[in-house]
C-alpha cells in the first residue's frame, strides 16, 4: 500500500512549495458507498504521488449507503491541504475531515498476531500478551493467535516483542479514527 516517498524534486518548477517538514495526518472521508468510489480515492493518491500509510473502509450507515474511509497519509502541510481539497472534488465524497488538524481524535487498530513456539518462549508470549491486554483467539499445542486492539504504535511494540518469541504472521486492519467529544465529524 505504501508508495515510496518522492525523492527531493529535481525540478525548479516544484521548489517553491514543500520546504516544510513531513507530517502524518489522519483523514476521515465520508463517501457514498457506490461501485468505484474506493478506486477513485486510491487512484487520486497514486496519480498525484501522495502516500498512503494506512487505509480502511467500511459502510457505516446501511440505509443511506454511506461509507467512511480513514486514511493515514504523510506529507508537508501544503501537500496535506492539497490532498484534502483533491479528495473533496471527487463527486461521491460528502465530507473530508482532517482529524489531525482538528485535534483530539482517537485512533484504533485491530491486529491478529500468530506466534509459534514451545516451552519458555510460549510462556513469555502469554505473559506479554496479558501485559498488552491481547486476547488468545486460537491456540494449538505449539501456537497462539492473539487479538490486540490499540493505537498503531502499541501494536508495533507488541509485534516487535513477539518477533524473537516465534512470530509467524501479522494481520492488521489499518486505522479507524473518530473525533472526541459530542460533535459529529
Amino acid at each position: 500500500m505504501n508508495a515510496p516517498a518522492p525523492a527531493s524534486p529535481p525540478s525548479p518548477y516544484s521548489s517553491a512549495m514543500g520546504k516544510s517538514a513531513m507530517e502524518s495526518h489522519t483523514l476521515s472521508v465520508l463517501v457514498d458507498n457506490e461501485p468505484g468510489v474506493l478506486a477513485r480515492v486510491v487512484g487520486l493518491f497514486s496519480a498525484r504521488g501522495y502516500n498512503i500509510e494506512s487505509l480502511t473502509v467500511a459502510e457505516v450507515a446501511h440505509g443511506e449507503h454511506l461509507s467512511r474511509i480513514t486514511i493515514v497519509t504523510t506529507g508537508t502541510p501544503e501537500i496535506i491541504e492539497q490532498i484534502s481539497h483533491q479528495l473533496d472534488r471527487i463527486v461521491p465524497i460528502h465530507r473530508v475531515t482532517d482529524l489531525t488538524l482538528r485535534g483530539r481524535s482517537i485512533q484504533r487498530e485491530l491486529a491478529m498476531v500468530k506466534v509459534r513456539g514451545k516451552g519458555e518462549n510460549r510462556v513469555e508470549a502469554m505473559r506479554l500478551a496479558e501485559a498488552f491486554r491481547a486476547r488468545v483467539i486460537d491456540a494449538t499445542t505449539e501456537s497462539f493467535v492473539f487479538e490486540l486492539t490499540g493505537r498503531p504504535d502499541k501494536i508495533d511494540d507488541f509485534v516487535e516483542l513477539m518477533r524473537p518469541l516465534g512470530l509467524v504472521d501479522v494481520a492488521r486492519t489499518g486505522v479507524a479514527a473518530i473525533s472526541r467529544g459530542p460533535e459529529a465529524l
Binding site: S11, P12, Y13, M17, P35, H85, V91
Partner: protein, 585 residues
C-alpha cells in the same frame, strides 16, 4: 408517465437538457441509441471520422457556446479513442458529456467483443463517470452528468451504458427539481475576503491582473465585469493562453499573454508587481516558470471556483473560493460603493515602467520580402478577418503560440486551443464543432503541417455537413516546437522532427472536394487569404513559411519571468538553458 426504452430516455434527456447537436460514431454497443436518434428531429448528430474528433468537436462546440458538448461513441475502441479528447477537456475545464456504449451487463468482465473497462480507463481523465447497471438509474444519471459537467469547475463526464440497459423499459424522469446530494460547489465568494481584496487593490502600488480560462468558463458576464473592474482600477491586465479574449487585446491596459511565450511586459509586470490578482487561473508551469523566483515581492489574491487550485503550485495570501462572475460582481460593487481609488501617483510610475518594457516590442520579428514569416502570416490573417465574426482554433506547437501572440482577440469564446494537454490534432475537429454552433461565422484553424495530419480525416466531416472551416497551415516542414527545443537543448540535432513525405495539401483538399490554396510569396499573401475567406467551401491553405523561425520571446525552462530570451538578443540560443532546466518540459 409512459414507459420508454433506455435508448429513448437518452434522446429525451438530451432534449430536456437543450442539446441540439451531438458528435459521434456508431457501433454495435450503441445501435439502440442510434435507432432512437433516427426517429426524431430535435437532436442533430454529426458523424465524425474518428472518436477523438468527436471529443474535440464537442469541445469546440462547448467552448464557443458556453453549453455542454455531447459526444456519443461505442464500446471498446470507440471509448478508448475518445480518451485523448476527454483528457484534453479535463485539463482545460471544458464541460462535456460523453455517452459510451458498453457490452450487455451479463457480458461485462468476460472479455467480450469490443469490451473494455471504460469507467476504469476514464476514471482519471474525467471529472466523474458512471456505469449504468439498471434502467431505473438511467434518467437520474443522465441529468446528473449534465449537472456535474457544467457546475463548479467544468469538466468531462462519461456515462457508460450497457446495451441491455439501452433496450430495457423504464420510466423517464425529467430533470426538474433534481438536486445532487453531494456535489454543490460554492459560487459566492466570502464577502469579508472580497472586502479585504479590494482594500489591498486600493493600496497597491504595482498591481497586475492575471486572468485565465476560468473567466471564459464563468460566462460572458464574467468577461463583462472583468472589463469594468480593470477600467475602474486602471490596473494592467495579462492573461493565460486559455483566458485570451476575456479582455479586449486592442485595449491599452492589455499587456498581452504571459508565460513561456508571453510578452516581455506581461512577464516583467508579474515578476515586479506588489499585488497580483489571479482570477480563474491556476499558476500552471507554463505561466510561472521557475517557482522559487516567481513574483517574489508580491501579495497574491487568488479567485477560483476550485479549492484545489489554491495553494497548489504557488502559496497565495488571500484565497477566495467562488465563481469568477459572482466574485467580480462583488468586487465591482464594493469598489464603487466604497468609492475606492487606486493610488494614482504610484500607478503612473508603474505604467511608466511597463511602457519601458513594452517598448522592447518583444513580439517583433525580422521582416522579409522573400519568405513569409509565420508571425507575418498570422498578422495578415488577423488584419483581414478582424472586422468579421471570426473564431480561431489551433493545433499545438509554434503556430499556436504565434496565433496567441499575433491574433488579437476582443471577445470571449472566440479562441479554442488545447492549453493544458497540448493535443496535436485538436484544431480541425474543434473548428468543426465551432462551425456547427455558428454556421455563419468565419472559423479558422491555425495549424502546423505536422499537427493537422493527426486528425486530417475530419475534412470528410466538414465536407459532409458543408462546414466551410478554413485550415491555415503555417508549413515550415518541421514539428517546429520540437525543432526549436532541439536547437535549444540538444545541439541542433533534429532527431525525427522533420516533416518528411508531406502530402500535397492543395491536392489533398481537392481530393476531399474542398478548396486548396498555396502561397509562398509575402506579396501575394493578402490576396490568397482573401481567396480563402471568400471561398464557400472548406479550405486547406498551405502557407509556406520560414523553416528556421523560432518562437520568441521565451522563458527558457527553469528560468524566471525576468529572464527571457528576446527576439533581438544575439545570444547563442543553444547555451541559455542549464542542466537543471534541461530536465524540465
Amino acid at each position: 408517465m409512459k414507459q420508454m426504452t433506455g435508448a429513448e430516455m437518452i434522446v429525451e434527456a438530451l432534449k430536456d437538457q437543450g442539446v441540439d447537436t451531438i458528435f459521434g460514431y456508431p457501433g454495435g454497443a450503441v445501435l439502440p441509441i442510434y435507432d432512437a436518434l433516427f426517429h426524431q428531429n430535435f437532436v442533430r448528430h454529426v458523424l465524425v471520422r474518428h472518436e477523438q474528433g468527436a471529443a474535440h468537436a464537442a469541445e469546440g462546440y462547448a467552448r464557443s457556446t458556453g453549453k455542454v458538448g455531447v459526444l456519443l461513441v461505442t464500446s471498446g475502441p470507440g471509448a478508448t479513442n475518445a480518451v485523448t479528447g476527454l483528457t484534453d477537456a479535463l485539463l482545460d475545464s471544458i464541460p462535456l458529456v460523453c455517452i459510451t456504449g458498453q457490452v450487455p451487463t451479463h457480458l461485462i468482465g468476460s472479455d467480450a467483443f469490443q469490451e473494455c473497462d471504460t469507467v476504469g480507463i476514464t476514471r482519471s481523465c474525467t471529472k466523474h463517470n458512471y456505469l449504468v447497471k439498471k434502467i431505473e438509474d438511467l434518467p437520474r444519471i443522465l441529468h446528473e452528468a449534465f449537472y456535474v459537467a457544467a457546475n463548479g469547475r467544468p469538466g468531462p463526464v462519461v456515462i457508460d451504458i450497457p446495451k441491455d440497459v439501452q433496450f430495457a423499459l423504464g420510466k423517464y424522469v425529467n430533470p426538474r427539481g433534481l438536486q445532487h446530494k453531494t456535489y454543490q460547489p460554492k459560487v459566492k465568494g466570502d464577502l469579508d475576503r472580497i472586502k479585504e481584496a479590494v482594500a489591498m487593490m486600493a493600496a497597491a502600488k504595482k498591481p497586475v491582473f492575471y486572468t485565465g480560462g476560468g473567466i471564459i468558463n464563468s460566462g460572458p458576464a464574467a468577461a463583462h465585469l472583468l472589463r469594468e473592474l480593470v477600467r475602474l482600477t486602471g490596473f494592467p491586465i495579462t492573461s493565460t493562453l486559455m483566458g485570451l479574449g476575456a479582455y479586449p487585446a486592442p485595449d491599452p491596459q492589455w499587456l498581452g499573454m504571459l508565460g513561456m511565450h508571453g510578452s516581455y511586459e506581461a512577464n516583467n509586470a508579474m515578476h515586479d508587481c506588489d499585488l497580483m490578482i489571479a482570477i480563474g487561473a491556476r499558476f500552471d508551469d507554463r505561466i510561472t516558470g521557475r517557482l522559487d523566483a516567481f513574483s517574489p515581492g508580491s501579495k497574491k489574491i487568488h479567485i477560483d471556483i476550485d479549492p484545489s487550485s489554491i495553494n497548489k503550485n504557488v502559496k497565495v495570501d488571500l484565497p477566495i473560493v467562488g465563481d469568477c462572475a459572482h466574485v467580480l460582481e462583488d468586487m465591482v460593487r464594493l469598489w464603487r460603493t466604497d468609492a475606492l481609488r487606486a493610488d494614482k501617483a504610484a500607478l503612473d510610475a508603474w505604467w511608466a515602467q511597463i511602457e519601458q518594457w513594452r517598448a522592447r516590442k518583444s513580439f517583433s520579428y525580422k521582416k522579409s520580402a522573400s519568405t513569409i514569416k509565420p508571425q507575418y502570416a498570422v498578422e495578415r490573417l488577423y488584419e483581414l478577418t478582424k472586422n468579421r465574426k471570426t473564431f480561431i482554433t489551433t493545433e499545438v506547437g509554434q503556430h499556436q503560440m504565434w496565433a496567441a501572440q499575433h491574433f488579437h482577440f476582443a471577445e470571449p469564446n472566440r479562441w479554442m486551443t488545447s492549453g493544458g494537454l497540448g493535443t496535436m490534432g485538436y484544431g480541425l475537429p474543434a473548428a468543426i464543432g465551432v462551425q456547427m454552433a455558428h454556421p455563419d461565422a468565419l472559423v479558422i484553424d491555425i495549424a502546423g503541417e505536422a499537427s493537422i495530419q493527426m486528425c486530417i480525416q475530419e475534412m470528410s466531416t466538414a465536407m459532409q455537413y458543408r462546414l466551410p472551416v478554413k485550415i491555415f497551415i503555417l508549413n515550415n516542414e518541421y514539428m517546429g516546437m520540437v525543432r526549436q527545443w532541439q536547437e535549444l537543448l540538444h545541439g541542433g540535432r533534429y532527431s525525427e522532427s522533420y516533416s518528411h513525405s508531406l502530402p500535397d495539401f492543395v491536392r489533398l483538399a481537392e481530393a476531399y472536394g474542398a478548396h486548396g490554396i498555396r502561397c509562398s510569396d509575402p506579396a501575394d499573401l493578402d490576396r490568397a487569404i482573401q481567396e480563402m475567406i471568400d471561398s464557400p467551401k472548406p479550405v486547406i491553405f498551405d502557407c509556406l513559411v520560414d523553416k528556421a523561425e523560432n518562437c520568441l520571446p521565451m522563458i527558457p525552462s527553469g528560468k524566471a519571468h525576468n529572464d527571457m530570451i528576446l527576439p533581438d538578443t544575439d545570444e547563442d540560443i543553444g547555451s541559455v538553458i542549464d542542466d537543471k532546466g534541461k530536465m524540465l518540459v
